[in-house]
Amino acid sequence: MSTIQPKVGEPVSDELALVQAAKGGDVSAFEELVRRYDRNVFRIAQHITQNREDAEDVVQDAFLKAYNNLSQFQGQSKFYTWLVRIAVNEALMKLRRRRPERTVSLDEEVKTEEDSVPREVADWSPNPEQQYSQAELRDILTRTIQGLPASFRTVFVLRDVEGLSTEETADALDLSIPAVKSRLLRARLQLRERLSRYFHRRDGASEQPKLEVGDGNQ
């Protein structure tokens, strides 16, 4: 069985030059950095906050915070990893504000009712995503990942959706490498378990679970 191939990112060779120019007051250089990473920051923010307005705020706040603190960026990590760290913190603050009744922390080991040990081991259909329309599939994927604890969701999104390395994810989230690996394993297994409900191999198409397609504004 082959391994997962990471997404190939854009070349970053000129990135330090852009950061240096922005530090020197060249706003157009900073604008280029915004263009390069605004989609990623928006996606990460929306995965964490699960709210479109909050995600928009996070994009603005994270880039402005980065701009105002460029002098503190020393270049030990990639600019993107540094930016992600800022964005994750902004997004978690939004989430805490919106859900003050639940403590949201990336540090604590999350105990979930659902054990990560697989119970559903039925094989999937050969092309499970083709059983559903685009809107249905998006709804399934959105509600499935939203069911994960914030700390699992965040690690999964940075590692598997955005393609950060384990080390970069640990750096961006201020977690140890074993903590990132442990959360990633449990996130992957829980998502797999939950998706199996929709994607498992079946003889007749009539058994598909009923879907209520949302408005997509989550």
Partner: protein, 82 residues
């Protein structure tokens, strides 16, 4: 190797972050344990489906609006207005 041992190594295996000897042991387990094979294969599909899903794409009009707001605040900051 027990199934629980296999699961502990699943993430490293899928990421290719293991030595050749461990990899061979895991693949030996996969060759006869159908359940672990299915879990491994469907976990890999889970990752690929999410990676390719394009959830939460930033619409171009919103993108322009956000960038304009950010850059105008950067200019204001530079000019000492904020």
């Amino acid at each position: 190797m027990k199934c629980s041992d296999f699961l502990q190594e699943l993430t490293n295996y899928l990421d290719g972050a293991i030595d050749a000897r461990t990899k061979a042991e895991l693949e030996d387990h996969l060759a006869w344990c159908h359940n672990c094979y299915v879990v491994c294969d469907t976990t890999k599909k889970t990752i690929e489906i999410y990676r390719d899903s394009q959830l939460y794409e930033l619409p171009e009009d919103l993108r322009t609006r956000l960038r304009t707001a950010i850059i105008s605040k950067c200019h204001a900051k530079k000019e000492g207005r904020a």
